[in-house]
Amino acid sequence: MANGNDPVNPDEILFRRIPASTGWYRPGDSPPLEPEAFRPNKNDITGLSVFREKYISTERAAQGRPGKSYFVAVFRAGDLIDAGMRVVPRPLEDHPGHAEIESLT
């Protein structure tokens, strides 16, 4: 497997972790997702964090802080690219599958 620096393919599946405590995702509501779940915060200097399915399972992507619960949004890289966004690999030491959506920040 590559080291995480390989370009993100449009057919790749990406994950975005959403803390359950925020209420940004509420299954059953219409729409269920609030825009804050994909809004860069002051720490997202270079881009919005996502994880690549080719490197990480959904279950692993859903693991954040101990004792906290998370939802995982699943989407296709090509849909973001088609909308004019850039998805770039940004591997971390403990997360080779880390990538960022650049054009939001």
Binding site: E34, E36, N41
Partner: protein, 136 residues
Amino acid sequence: MKLIHPAESLHDRASYLIQGIVDIPLPAAGEQDGWGDAFRQLAAWKSDSSLLEDEGVESPQKRIVRSAEETGLSLKEHGISSPERVVPDGDGGIAFRWRQGPSSWTIEFDSDGSIESYLMHEGRLIRRHSLHETAG
């Protein structure tokens, strides 16, 4: 474009912020206006900031929660129904959001004390108003 408006009183502040909803017919607040749920949510965040602390999520400080509470009370007095959603913005702020069909109206209490209201229609920004804390 950000607008600076010297709204000093809570009444002035609410009057200014609700300019954004003239284009969407929000239901008027009735007996079951739902504000109780919103205030309970805010009170919970104020009493225990750890409820929201998470990676990439900054909890709102008490003064921001108080600002949201005070503005909420004023909106209620203006006959505005409770927001459909009360959510943290992730950067230490709070957002009230109402929806009507393809339109949404948001009042956001930013961590720096400023307040912004904006109207979106089909994902496009239609109108935005900002209030900034006065110095001193």
